[in-house]
Amino acid sequence: MRLQSKLTLSSAVSKVVILLLLVILLPPLIHRVALHNTDKRLLEKKEQVFDIIEERGIESFISNETDDMYGSYNLLKEEFISLEPIAAPQIDNRIENSYRKVENEVLEYRVLSLAFEVEGGTYLLEIGRSLSTIRETSDTMQQYAIYFLVAIVLLTVFIELAFVKILLRPLTLIIWRLQRIGHPDSFKPVKLGTTTTDFVYLNDTINSMMVQIKEAFLKEKEFIGNVSHELLTPVSILQTKLENLLTDPAMPEEMLVKLVESQKTLYRLKSIIHALLLISRIENEQYLKNEEVSMKTLAKDVAEEIEERVEAKRLTLDLNVTEDMTWKANYSLLFTMLFNVVNNAIKYNKPGGTVSIVGRNTDGGYTLSVTDTGVGMPEDQLPNIFNRFKRLQVPDGESYGLGLPIVETVAKFHNILLSVTSQPGSGTCFSFLFKNP
């Protein structure tokens, strides 16, 4: 999951939690506020009632003779006011919820009860407000509050989403650039236009590290090239010395055998140097890719060159390249690539086995594959076969050949997709996919 999504999600979650808390806590809170407001209004009404009594006198409501009581309520029985004379002030001044029967209907009211003395008599004043009215009000308030909160949450989530996106844009850019680096060689350091110091630091660090890696790669390439080149002169001296000794007619035959052993070692050294130089030159792009190479011709040329080896090992070479394709490449490099693979297929084959070279048009391009019926390789060795100097267990001991690393380097240089499958005991298949441009 991307950081941007995570940040937005976490902020949304925290807001929803707050919203839920509010939804739970809001009803009792609003109810209390509503009650409080009602009580305030009841007290105000009480003052108004006292004002009226003072103005008109208690007689206008209740006459002493009749010992009657006064009551008034509005049409929907939302409120009532009652006055009645009482014997003694037993009731304290208080506000409480209680039931009252109004016109044969029992309703719950918030009631302010107050006993007071006026003009020698003691009276009880009650002012009530229907609780259902109070609840209605608080419900409405609650509803609006929740709408409001949801709207706020949604709004802030969207604002944050946009904000996070803008803030994280440099990071997105860094990732985008990193994804596009196939090889450190292709990296170009770019400055980042942001005021977020963390990202500037990150970008600068990546830049400096990639430049270091790139330099290390270049140095390694140059190093291999230079060292191999420097080695050629001493090897040259040794080779001429050995050849002079070999042509010396006075040299006894047992000495000749020893000289040949030395010559073998020297040729081994020579072939390693040549292979390294070849790899280094390919990697340094010192080869042109401007020849139109026909796959059919290439396969045929390699088959011809290697024909005698096939015969020498009593194998069958099955050349099945009926479909042709031309590819802009370096012919001699492609030749070396295919030759090495076919040569391996011969070297590690079983007596009476087959090597087949098949070329045909496939999805996305042209596939050239070399399949043998040889000893194969266990799966865990496959990733190592293209490693330089990685020692592999092969039937004739250990292979330190640079043949396959060369194959891989040539394939990479030409953008050829190389894949290997192998079945121990039944054979190996190398296939080269020449992708459509």
Partner: protein, 224 residues
């Protein structure tokens, strides 16, 4: 034949001198470009073996100087800088051949002989030895007018053995000559033996005595 060896590596120069002297060439050595420049101005050389990487001189400048000489010596460039561009550069400036280091002395000898044949306008490319005729331009071999059909590699093998007749050629020298264009990591292979065996079989039908001799543990020799 008078040869100038221009090579700053003293021991390589002396090995070259040793080999070529035995082959009856007369050799001079120049370890620096300056010395070489003086020598080519004074002496009349038939061959100049030129190392391009000299400490005091650019080898190609020396090549230009040699090209201005009246008698036109043959020039073979010997260099460790074996890139394609170097090769093209050297040849386009008038060198007759180009051998990347490390090279085989036998290969050098073959190249020198080829240049000589060109120089002295030897039209015939046929080598004749006791009835065996090898035509290197049409790549045909015949014995007493009956043609022997050889594969490309068998021909190359026979031709090389013949050019170095009476000399032991090791398997590696033969392998390098025949598969020189292929980078061989299989330096210890016995493919050359297969070729020699086939060649022997084909020659046996025509050539009466076994000229192609095996030197056990070393290589082969064409003794005529």
């Amino acid at each position: 034949m008078h040869i100038l060896i221009v090579e700053d590596e003293k021991s390589l120069a002396s090995e070259l001198e040793h080999f070529l002297t035995k082959e009856h060439y007369r050799c001079d050595i120049a370890h620096t470009g300056r010395a070489a420049s003086e020598k080519i101005a004074v002496n009349r050389y038939d061959f100049i073996l030129l190392d391009l990487g000299l400490p005091d001189y650019h080898g190609l400048d020396l090549l230009n100087e040699a090209r201005e000489l009246e008698h036109q010596p043959a020039i073979i460039i010997l260099t460790a800088r074996g890139t394609v561009e170097d090769r093209i550069e050297g040849l386009s400036r008038g060198a007759d051949d180009y051998l990347p280091k490390p090279f085989s002395l036998l290969e050098l000898q073959v190249r020198m002989q080829a240049i000589l044949r060109r120089k002295f306008n030897v039209k015939s490319s046929v080598l004749t030895l006791h009835g065996l005729e090898i035509d290197s331009s049409s790549r045909r071999v015949s014995y007493d007018s009956s043609e022997i059909s050889l594969t490309k590699k068998e021909f190359d093998l026979l031709h090389y053995l013949l050019l170095h007749k009476n000399r032991i050629l090791t398997r590696l020298q033969l392998t390098e000559h025949i598969w020189g264009n292929v980078l061989e990591d299989d330096y210890d292979s016995n493919y050359i033996d297969v070729h020699v065996k086939n060649l022997r079989k084909k020659l046996a039908a025509y050539v009466p005595n076994d000229w192609l001799e095996t030197v056990r543990g070393v290589g082969y020799r064409l003794s005529i």
